[in-house]
Amino acid sequence: MWPNNALIDLFKAEIQKAWSFPILEIAVGLIAFTTIANIHVLLNISTQTGLLASFSILISDSFFDSLYSQMLFLSIFCGVLVSLSFARDYEQGFMQTLLSSPVSRSVVFLVKFFAVILPLTILTWVMTTSIVFLNFYSGSSVMVVIEKALWALPVIFIALMFCGGFAAFISLSLKRTIPSVLTVVLAGFSIWYISTVTSDVVGNIANYFILTPFPVPLIALSRVFGRVVTPFISLGDFEYVLPTWVFWVLSVFYALVFLVPVYVYFTRRFEIRE
């Protein structure tokens, strides 16, 4: 089914609303800053036969370190934008207008959700890939950068889907802008903080913190990159026992765990109260 004009107009309007000044500028600035701050200096010695493998490691490390640094900011930023999109529109009465239009509830929900997720994913991916490419530019590095970038794209998308789904759940539950935004910010920090708690502090239970939503997509990406050591190594060796597919399945699970129930609720049970 091809999207009609109303769908495209609604999507454009939602993007303009969600990414109005200075939101886009702040996002661009912070993504660029975190990427540049984590790019490794180009300095590598290898043999001619081992050059691609060496570059692969350097570029993988730069991609991973950049995304690891960006993930906290991106998750909170995404959560705040989705909260604003749902809760603010509910408070200001725009939700009522949208739901009484000829567009279906399903389309309204998906448009509002992906008007935040898709641009943020593309913006992060394009900026990170461009900066890594410019830093490591040489004849040998182009295909390596493209290969790593193609794996980074779904990871960014899946990670932001979790943040957006969680934020939609909070904002449709609380239906108030400020409490929703504050709750999302606090929850985002808490989820990140859990992944930094080591076994020295809480004992062996810290081993299982690598299965929380923050580290899971990053570990999945590190496995694809062939990176053995991740920042989560301080949480214990449990990470190395689990096969790679576990982290990918968990990533997709987290992406849908809030999104699907909230979508069903919005399309079937959600009511506007005066």
């Binding site: 180009l42 300095l43 010695i45 290898s46 043999t47 050059l51 060496s54 530019y137 040998s140």
Partner: protein, 168 residues
């Protein structure tokens, strides 16, 4: 932001890489991929270096090194395939190179000795040498920062000039 990053980005002081043994009369090629980071040394035959390599400036300190002694033929070319050094040497030794181009510097080693050996290759830079930063990134940062400053000043001036006109 970019100026801050590029101005603080300093290349690591020493980086050494060792491959397996080079058989007698065989040539191996090492690739040094590097950004334009200014003057430094390429070392041949040093497994570990502590202290300032000769000719790099910085505070004087006693050079401590683990090395291997072997006669070699050494050829170094820059990313534009210009020859920087081409002669017979005896390791260990340092060779001054101005890394002024981003790309791959090729180091060809031919073992002229009578036994197979591992030959480490390294790059060294002076401690605290302000020249040893990624020059192209630094210039881009300066340019973008200046453009940003100009835009901000123009915006502020326009706002200040427009105000009295609107209030009349």
């Amino acid at each position: 932001m970019l100026f801050l990053n590029a101005s603080s980005e300093h290349v690591p002081r020493s980086y050494i890489y060792t491959l397996g043994e080079i058989p007698v009369n065989v040539t191996h090629v090492y690739v040094v991929s590097i950004a334009p980071v200014g003057p430094g040394n390429i070392s041949v035959g040093y497994f570990r270096i502590t202290g300032n390599a000769p000719g790099l400036g910085g505070p004087p300190s006693e050079l401590f090194a683990e090395s291997v002694v072997l006669p070699l033929h050494l050829l170094i070319t820059d990313p534009a395939n210009r020859t920087l050094f081409n002669a017979d040497i005896v390791t260990p030794d340092f060779f001054a190179v101005d890394f002024n181009t981003r790309g791959d510097y090729l180091v060809y080693l031919t073992n002229n000795g009578n036994k197979s050996e591992s030959i480490p290759i390294g790059v060294q830079f002076g401690e605290g040498n302000l020249q040893n930063r990624e020059f192209d990134k630094y210039m881009l940062s300066v340019t973008l920062t200046l453009i940003g400053v100009i835009l901000i000043v123009v915006g502020v001036v326009k706002k200040l000039v427009a105000k009295p006109v609107l209030s009349c």
